[in-house]
């Protein structure tokens, strides 16, 4: 009996050991570093809240926040609507080869983000890229995807939407499968059209999935890094893209900490501020979305 009491602790021990050593400790340590002037090679000097005061006055920090909001607005609606439609179609009783299509649309999620950046940089190359050549067939002038502010943002949004739409669809499909079929049968007997069923039953009952997708996409937008990093690396080593237009939270953090500045203390302060912003935004979004449910 005594073994039965100690067993669960022993089973959970490896996880919590690794978790404490390599997740909790680095977070606390980063918090401590953020209060220091530390460039990695020199000795840390304690400077209190100096780094935080600098973050609050740093235009690049606000730029990164603004870009993140813009990217959210450019990504979330497309990802939600396309993912939802895909899920509806894939669940339709008229659909054939469901599994094959589901797999094909899921493949983008599996790509190495870094490879994705290189491929999209080449496909969207202003001079010889496939996309501009196709646009030319339709008489549309070449778009300078990697050198101009809004095309660059559109490009990053497209990569993200392309990568995650199939994944979003799979989430919605699981949600739709969870909906009790009795509800549909009852509504069919009551003479509801398939439009009514989609908007009155499927959508409202998918609220938890939608909330999950929106929240994780919001958090994800702060973390967009690898794809644009490679796109603009290939297009000529531009940190943050043209005029910092796609500088995201993690990119700013990475650039400050590891790229050329090695300002560890300041980067840690940026990380803490980013985390606070992410926490507040997800909290508010969560409240707003679950609040609507009552009304």
């Amino acid at each position: 009996m005594r073994r039965q009491k100690t067993a669960p602790y022993l089973f959970a021990l490896p996880y919590f050991l690794i978790f404490l050593a390599f997740s909790v400790f680095p977070i606390l340590f980063s918090g401590f570093i953020s209060l220091n002037d530390w460039k990695g090679y020199n000795e840390p000097t304690f400077i209190g809240l100096q780094n935080y005061i600098e973050v609050f006055g740093d235009p690049r920090f606000y730029k990164a926040l603004g870009n993140t909001l813009l990217l959210m607005v450019m990504i979330i609606p497309f990802q939600l609507v396309l993912g939802f439609l895909l899920a509806l179609f894939l669940n339709s009783k008229y659909m054939k080869l469901k599994k094959t299509f589901r797999l094909l649309n899921f493949l983008p999620y599996l790509t190495t983000p870094i490879a994705l950046g290189v491929i999209f940089a080449l496909l969207f190359d202003p001079a010889f890229g496939t996309v501009n050549q196709v646009l030319e067939w339709f008489g549309i002038n070449a778009i300078n995807w990697t050198k101009e502010v809004w095309p660059a943002r559109a490009l990053v949004s497209m990569v993200t939407v392309w990568r995650y739409t199939g994944y979003t669809a799979v989430l919605f499909m699981a949600g739709i499968t969870n909906i009790n079929t009795d509800i549909y049968e009852a509504s069919e007997i009551d003479g509801a059209s398939s439009w009514q069923r989609t908007f009155r039953i499927t959508l409202p009952l998918l609220k938890p999935v939608t909330t999950f997708v929106v929240l994780s996409t919001m958090i994800g937008c702060f973390q967009i890094f690898e794809e644009p990093f490679m796109i603009f690396n290939v297009a000529g080593k531009l940190v943050g893209g043209p005029n910092n237009s796609v500088l995201t939270g993690i990119w700013l953090f990475y650039d400050t900490a590891f790229s050329n500045q090695f300002r560890n203390g300041y980067a840690a302060a940026i990380a803490v501020c980013l985390f606070a912003v992410i926490a507040v935004i997800s909290f508010v979004a969560n409240k707003l979305m679950s609040g609507k449910e009552d009304g």
């Binding site: 039965q4 067993a7 669960p8 089973f11 959970a12 996880y15 690794i18 050593a21 390599f22 997740s23 680095p26 977070i27 980063s30 918090g31 570093i33 008229y94 054939k96 080869l97 599994k99 299509f101 589901r102 797999l103 649309n105 899921f106 493949l107 599996l110 790509t111 190495t112 983000p113 870094i114 490879a115 290189v118 491929i119 496939t130 050549q133 392309w162 739409t165 799979v170 989430l171 499909m173 699981a174 949600g175 938890p208 999950f212 958090i219 973390q223 890094f225 490679m230 690396n233 993690i250 953090f253 990475y254 590891f258 560890n264 840690a268 990380a271 803490v272 980013l274 985390f275 992410i278």
Partner: protein, 278 residues
């Protein structure tokens, strides 16, 4: 519903199929271009759209081998395999403990796991790198294998699965037969958890294989590079030889596509239900 009266094709089916074919084409087009472009000579790539393969594959492969690409491959396979194995071990034990035992602190532990699922790990990187430096793990593959093994998603996923899948009565009767707790876990728990462990193994393999930021900051020794770092290397060293560069991308992506095409059946739905059940 096993008997189909007549094979009648509905107009809805036709419309849906057309839409899905278009959507799927958009989803796989970049792969198609990538696979094809890797078979072209670099200077041919600047003209026209490449819809069919060419004959330069062997040459590109040769130039790719002039840098240590095969070595990066071996490193990545090693890291991802070990990481997946360790993740399954660590998370299945923890998830099993959280779902099949009643003990003090169980709720708190579960909540901690849930909470960490929400925290973007990149934000602690500064502290992580200095820690790695202090314990002498910089320029080793350990930071890519051990820290990710404590996957909050993994514990959550196993716990959720185990709760419904292993009947308590089976565990109870094994105990009455005098079976030790660890033996119960290995001989009864693990077989029941098999499918969930498989999914977790695949996912952590995928995440490990695709991981870029951590390897980039802990590895400076080129001999230890993983595939994503190799790709970054290609983008600078083969700036002009785009053919070889793209072949490198294809080689980096293909294992994942194969792996998931083979195992996708349970995996996609498993992944989804884990997220939705929350």
């Amino acid at each position: 519903m096993k008997i189909k009266a007549r094979r009648k094709i509905h107009w809805q089916t036709v419309v849906l199929m057309v839409v899905m074919v278009v959507a799927s084409l958009v989803a796989i087009a970049p792969f198609w271009f990538m696979l094809n472009m890797g078979t072209y000579k670099a200077n041919e790539l600047y003209t026209g759209i490449k819809l069919i393969p060419s004959n330069y594959l062997a040459q590109n492969f040769k130039s790719l081998m002039t840098i240590n690409f095969s070595r990066y491959y071996v490193n990545s396979l090693l890291v991802s395999t070990l990481c997946a194995g360790l993740t399954v071990l660590v998370c299945s034990m923890c998830g099993y403990a959280l779902s099949k035992y009643k003990f003090k602190g169980r709720k708190a532990m579960g909540n901690v796991v849930m909470l960490t699922m929400m925290v973007p790990t990149q934000l602690s990187l500064v502290g992580f790198v200095i820690e790695m430096n202090k314990i002498g793990w910089l320029n080793s593959l350990l930071p890519l294998i051990i820290p990710p093994a404590a996957s909050a998603f993994g514990v959550f996923w196993i716990r959720q699965y185990t709760r419904d899948c292993i009947p308590d009565s089976v565990i109870e009767s094994a105990r009455l037969d005098g079976c030790g707790e660890f033996r119960i876990f290995v001989q009864i728990g693990l077989p029941f958890m098999g499918p969930a462990c498989m999914t977790l193994a695949l996912l952590s393999f995928l995440w490990s294989w695709n991981s870029f930021v951590t390897p980039m900051i802990v590895l400076t020794n080129e001999k230890l590079y993983t595939v994503p770092l190799g790709i970054r290397q290609l983008a600078t060293q083969f700036r002009t030889d785009i053919g070889a560069q793209i072949l490198g991308l294809s080689l980096a992506t293909i294992p994942m596509l194969l792996l998931f095409a083979l195992f996708s059946k349970n995996l996609i739905s498993g992944l989804a239900s884990a997220a939705v059940k929350e």
